[in-house]
Every structure is written in structure tokens, then in C-alpha cells.
Amino acid sequence: MITTDIKLSKCQIDEIVKICASFNNQSGELINILHKTQGHFGYLPKEVQEVIARQLDIPVSKVYGVVTFYSFFTMKPKGKHPISVCMGTACYVRGAEDVVEELKKQLNIKVGEATPDGKFSLDTLRCVGACGLAPVMTIGEKVYGHVDASKVKEMLDTFE
């Protein structure tokens, strides 16, 4: 697992400490804590996991184990506009793979990566519960239905 070496600032550490404290530093709340922390930082680098492990008094290997188990958690920074393409059955048969290929081509990144300027990141997920609109993708919080691979470039151009 690749991770960028970053140094957390005092106030970043304080923020993690605060999140852990809001769950009473209970190790049983690890998933909720990771969820909230990722919501705050956008991703869960090594240094963040180390602080959480210390606060909850559990081995950092346990924290890392949970982070790598759930596909929702990520150790790589997300773009300003995180893109997720649904690869669930309905979307897949309606051409989601073509959409992913086109996005990879347009952004010149692989799935799980972010563009060097930090604008976009690309991920896949399983089902957002809008199978009637297949193929579906989300950019940020917004859901796009009936996505056409040939229109992907146009869509991307509308983002700043």
C-alpha cells in the first residue's frame, strides 16, 4: 500500500483526537471513527491511522486491517470532484465498463487514483440503488443516470 509521507499539524491531530473522544475512545467504534475522520480529511493516511490507534489504545495493524478491508476507506487522497462509477450488475450490462475506460482515458489515471492537479479522482462502486437509470455514476454528491461514454468528456468540462 503506497502512502505519502505527511506530517500532521497540531490542529489536525487535535481534530482526530476530538473525533475519537466524541466516541469515548471506544475501540468498538473504530469504523465510525474512521468514517468520520475520512469525512474530515478526505482520506486516511498512515499518520492519521497511527493517531487513531494511539487514542483507542489498539495496535495500528488492527486499524490498517479495517481500513484495507472496507472499500469505502481510502489511503489515497481523493480529488476535488470524486467520481464513482457503478459496476453493479445492471450498470455493468448497460456499458459501465466503457464509461470507466473513457474516464481513464480522459483523466489519464487508473481506478483508485487522483489527477495530479487534484481535480478529479476515479473509483468504482457496487450499486447506488438507481438501477433504472443504468449506467450510473456519481461526481461528488450528485448522481448522473444514463451515462453515455461518448458524452463523458463534455461532462468533465463543466467542472472547474
Partner: protein, 590 residues
């Protein structure tokens, strides 16, 4: 009264206490259901029960699915089939699925002949693996003590259980998901970068060749063949208590004499005993204890109590990582292995007129952390280690077999002098409670000036995780604690940190049972009777020795007269003591 349930297993009726698993009930009537991930060291409350390998599945009448015998309790009137065709086929498929992602290089695997998976494949008569698919491909990782070959891992989680639940080290955890799952340190770091203490308990329980020791047998064979080198060996007390098992002898058979003969056959120039250095440790550590105790009783506020033993290198690694705020508490005495090396390459080498660079000191240890300990910078002189390298009991077994030695026909031989002479106190260093008992025998006599009539301190013996005792020293009540297993050690350490510890002295050994259960010993395969037998064999050897108190060892007396002066002298300090470092990089940064 205990509630009993009656069940039928195959064609036999058996009555067992309620809550008993099918696996145990079957064992009682001689039906041995195969297991793989399951492990149970009952006397030490160490259990691995993920019920994940499904090797022990059985048919329970009335249930749709097969049930894992290891985790299914017996119900009254239950009818169980352990070897129906359905069960046998299921087991075969399970094993074939495991084998479909396992290298089949058994012939050249370090675990060959001692592998639970190999034994099962043989027992279930697997002749082909029907399933073909992707194969794991990880990089082999070497550390000073342990080698990780994760291609061979079968996800039994025994290592993870030992590392987390028993040792509370937390270096290993299950990471990633699905086919990419792996048991590894955080961030896939190397073991050497993690909090690993090299206790080797993961190696001791690994059923396959995924975790093995860093092997030095070939290096030793080369050194033994080099005529310019003098190669001497020291053997730790726990080795002699377990070595015989690998040659078909009853567990607990003491093979000290045969072991010495075998080492001579192998070509060592001198065969010495770490027990000698154990006696020396008692002189230094005991004196340090009494010194600190006296100051403490005089009300000196600068003296830190309790004093902790420091013989165990995995334990040293543990407190350097987890308790760097308390580095002044453990005794500064080096471990017996390192005391031996230091004295061998100074006093003995000078006496014999052997140049340091021509002398190779090898140790045979029940331990994998000792391999790392040899490489610590504090134990080197101009880059030359006091102990060149350390081999495990298992490596010695392999050497003896390779050298065509018929171990059981060897005569009993004696160690060489001067560093082969030891007292009973040195012998019991190999089992939990032994170091403290040995220290008490000497400390009592030195402190009170009286002769200790009964040298047996029965209440510090046994496999209980934490033991306590009080010894009367001239009306001073000396309170001692003993812990084995790092999880138990952590409990005592936390008490000290919180200022709640009642003890004056604490003995700690990292491995469950002490060195007899060390990471370098012949594998116990989950049988705790083996550990008890090994422990007993050391107490027998102690009882049979004419001298049983370290300070009576004539060659220890001579060593002080000729060379060191007295315990804790400047020279003794320089050669026999050490200092500790904070190993936790996060804390270092703060």
C-alpha cells in the same frame, strides 16, 4: 452438580459435561477428527477458535449443513457422524481448495515433515488438486529472527491470535480483503519496522511453512570446517528439556549428556553451558536487586522499584517499545547468552591465548529473539559480536540428523570447564519462575547471612500466567511477582506505571511457560502437556545437582577472583551490564 449430556458419535455413546465440543467429546473416545486452524493450550488459556478452515466438519443428524466439530457444543441426544462419505468428501474439497493456493514445494520447504497441512494431505490421501486458479505471490521477508513466506499462509490466524491476544504486541493483523487478504504488520511494513519483539510465538504455532526462523546451520557448518577458527558453543537450559522429543524420546526426558556428546561430534572445540552464565547473571542481578532494595528500605526516593529481570530479549524489545518511560526499572544485567559471549571473548579467550577474531561463539537457544539480540550494537566490540550467532533447538536437531549422528545411542558426556560448570539454580532459568527462584536462593543467603535450608520455592513454579509469592528476609517481606507471556507482563507493567504495584521484584519471560515454550523449540502442536513435562525435567535436573545456589559455583567464584573482582564492579559493569533504548519512533519524535 455439573450437567451432563449424552451423544452418539459414529457408533459410540459418550457422556460429557454440557458445553463440551464435539471435537473434545470425540477425542475422549479415541476418535480424532482432523483439525487445522484450531489450537488449544488448555492450561494456559490459549485458544485459537476461528472455526474458519472447516477441516473438522462433521454430520449432525437433523441439521442441513455440516458442523465444525471444534466450535459446536454437544446437545443431549445428538447423533454425529465423523467419517461418512459426505463428510470425507467435504474435507477433501476443503483441503483441495486450500492447496489450490499453496505452493507444492514440500520437498524443499523448511517445514517439511513437521507441517500440519502436509500431514493432512497425507492423511486424507490427496493425490490431485482439482481446483486451479490464481496463486498468491508475495515477497519473502527476512528479519534477524523470523522469515515470512506469505505464499504459504493458510489464514488459520494462529499467529495473529498469539501476537495480539496472548502477547499483546499487535504486530500482525489480517489486512486487505478476499484473495488479497494477508496476515501482516501495519502498512505492509517489514517486521523489523513494526512493533514485533521477535518472541517467535507466531513461528511456534504456524501450522505450515509461512513463518520460520532465520536459519544459521549452513553458516555454522562452514565455521566448523574452518581450521583457523576456534568454535565454541553454549546451550541454554530449555534446550536439553525438549531436544529428546525430536528423537522419539518421551517428552520431559532430560538429554543433557547426549546433547553435549552430539555437540562434540558436530566438531565444536569446546562445549559450554549457558547455565554457567545464568549463575553469573544471578550474581549480578541478585547484587543489583539487593543494592536497590537496601536503598529503598533506607528511604532513598531516587531508587525505582520494583526491579525487573532482563534475561529475555523479546521482553526487552517489548518494554523498549511499549514502556520507554520505564527504562530505568529493569535490571541492567545482560542476558545469560550475552554474559557468556562477553566472558568467553574476554576472560576465557585471554586465558587460552585465542585472538578475538579467531573465536566464534555460537549459542543454541530455545528462542528466536536471541538471534536478534546477538546483532544488537551494545553487544559488539569493534563490530565483532560477543555471540556471533544463535541457533534454535530445531536447527540443532537438523544439524544432528544431517551429521548422521544416532542421538539415542550417544553416551552421556560432561560439559567442558570452566564455563560448563553450573548449579541447579542455572538450570531452572529455562522455565517460568526459575530465574526468580534462582535469585532468591542467592539473595536470601547474601542478605540474611543464614543458610537457606529448603531451596525449593514451590509457589513460584507452574504454568499460571501470573504468580505471586512473599519471602521473608530477616523480617522484611519481599514481595515477588512472576509473569510469562507478554500479555501478562503488560498487566504487571501497567500496575507499575499507575503506581499500584505491590512487588519489589518481578520476573518476566516473553513466551508462555518461559523458555521451555520458546519460539525456537520443537513444535508443541497445541499440546500443553509437553510444556509441563519440559518444565518438570528442568526441576528434576536441578534437584539432582550437588550445588543448587549460583554463588556456590566454583568457577563463578574463580571468575570473580581472577578477573571481575566482585559483582557490579567496574569491570563487571562494563562486560556484563547494558542499557536500554526507546524503540517507539512515535514517542521519540514527541
Amino acid at each position: 452438580m455439573e450437567q451432563k449430556v449424552k451423544i452418539q458419535i459414529d457408533n459410540h455413546m459418550v457422556e460429557v459435561p454440557k458445553g463440551t465440543t464435539i471435537l473434545k467429546a470425540a477425542q475422549e473416545i479415541g476418535i480424532h477428527i482432523p483439525t487445522l486452524c484450531y489450537m488449544n493450550l488448555e492450561d494456559m488459556c490459549i485458544t485459537n477458535l476461528p472455526a474458519s478452515c472447516r477441516m473438522c466438519v462433521v454430520e449432525v443428524e437433523g441439521r442441513r449443513n455440516l458442523a465444525p466439530a471444534c466450535a459446536t457444543p454437544c446437545d443431549n441426544g445428538m447423533r454425529v457422524k465423523t467419517s461418512s462419505l459426505r463428510v470425507l468428501n467435504a474435507r477433501k474439497y476443503v483441503l483441495e481448495l486450500i492447496l489450490s493456493d499453496h505452493p507444492t514445494d514440500c520437498l524443499i520447504c523448511a517445514k517439511s515433515g513437521n507441517c500440519d497441512l502436509q500431514n493432512l494431505a497425507k492423511r486424507l490421501k490427496i493425490r490431485e488438486v482439482l481446483f486451479k486458479g490464481e496463486q498468491s505471490n508475495y515477497i519473502l521477508e527476512t528479519s534477524p529472527s523470523i522469515i515470512r513466506d506469505m505464499d504459504k499462509c493458510i489464514y488459520c490466524r494462529r499467529c495473529e491470535m498469539m501476537c495480539n491476544d496472548v502477547q499483546t504486541v499487535g504486530a500482525l493483523a489480517a489486512v486487505n480483503r478476499g484473495f488479497s487478504s494477508i496476515i501482516a504488520p501495519a502498512f505492509n511494513q517489514a517486521l523489523s519496522e513494526s512493533e514485533c519483539t521477535y518472541c517467535g510465538q507466531c513461528v511456534a504455532v504456524c501450522p505450515v511453512g509461512a513463518l520460520t526462523e532465520n536459519d544459521h546451520t549452513n553458516r555454522l557448518l562452514e565455521d566448523l570446517a574452518d581450521p583457523t577458527k576456534t568454535v565454541i558453543v553454549q546451550t541454554a537450559p530449555a534446550v536439553r528439556a525438549a531436544l529428546g522429543e525430536e528423537f522419539g524420546l518421551k517428552p520431559g526426558t532430560s538429554v543433557t549428556g547426549k546433547m553435549v556428546a552430539a555437540l562434540r561430534e558436530l566438531g565444536f572445540d569446546k562445549v559450554f553451558d549457558t547455565d554457567f552464565a545464568a549463575d553469573l547473571t544471578i550474581m549480578e542481578e541478585g547484587t543489583e536487586l539487593l543494592g536497590r532494595l537496601t536503598k529503598f528500605m533506607e528511604g532513598d526516593k531516587n531508587v525505582s522499584m520494583p526491579i525487573l529481570t532482563s534475561c529475555c530479549p523479546a521482553w526487552v524489545n517489548f518494554f523498549e517499545y511499549y514502556f520507554p518511560d520505564m527504562l530505568d526499572i529493569p535490571s541492567t544485567a545482560r542476558s545469560p547468552q550475552q554474559m557468556f559471549g562477553s566472558i568467553a571473548k574476554s576472560w576465557w579467550a585471554e586465558k587460552m591465548g585465542i585472538k578475538r577474531e579467531d573465536l566464534v561463539v555460537v549459542s543454541i537457544m530455545p528462542c528466536l529473539a536471541k538471534k536478534y539480540e546477538c546483532s544488537r550494537d551494545e553487544f559488539k566490540v569493534n563490530g565483532d559480536p560477543d555471540v556471533n550467532y544463535s541457533l534454535s533447538t530445531r536447527e540443532l536437531v537438523s544439524l544432528i540428523k544431517r551429521a548422521n549422528i544416532d542421538f539415542n545411542r550417544l553416551p552421556d558426556e560432561d560439559f567442558d570447564n570452566p564455563m560448563g560448570e553450573s548449579t541447579g539454580a542455572g538450570v531452572i532459568f529455562g522455565t517460568s519462575g526459575g530465574v526468580m527462584e534462582a535469585a532468591l536462593r542467592t539473595a536470601y543467603e547474601l542478605y540474611t547471612g543464614n543458610v537457606l535450608e529448603n531451596v525449593n520455592f514451590e509457589n513460584v513454579r507452574g504454568l499460571q500466567g501470573i504468580k505471586k509469592a512473599t519471602v521473608n528476609l530477616n523480617s522484611f517481606e519481599l514481595k515477588i511477582g512472576i509473569a510469562h507471556g507478554l500479555g501478562n507482563a503488560r498487566k504487571l507493567l501497567n500496575e507499575i506505571r499507575e503506581g499500584k504495584s505491590e512487588f519489589h521484584a518481578i520476573e518476566i519471560m516473553a513466551c508462555p511457560g518461559g523458555c521451555i515454550g520458546g519460539g525456537g523449540q520443537p513444535l508443541h502442536h497445541g499440546n500443553s502437556e509437553l510444556l509441563k513435562a519440559r518444565s518438570q525435567s528442568l526441576y528434576h535436573e536441578d534437584a539432582s545437582k550437588p550445588l543448587r545456589k549460583s554463588h556456590q559455583n566454583p568457577f563463578i567464584i574463580k571468575l570473580y577472583e581472577e578477573y571481575l573482582g566482585r559483582p557490579m564492579s567496574d569491570k563487571a559493569h562494563h562486560l556484563l551490564h547494558t542499557c536500554y533504548f526507546c524503540k517507539n519512533s512515535e514517542i521519540q519524535e514527541q
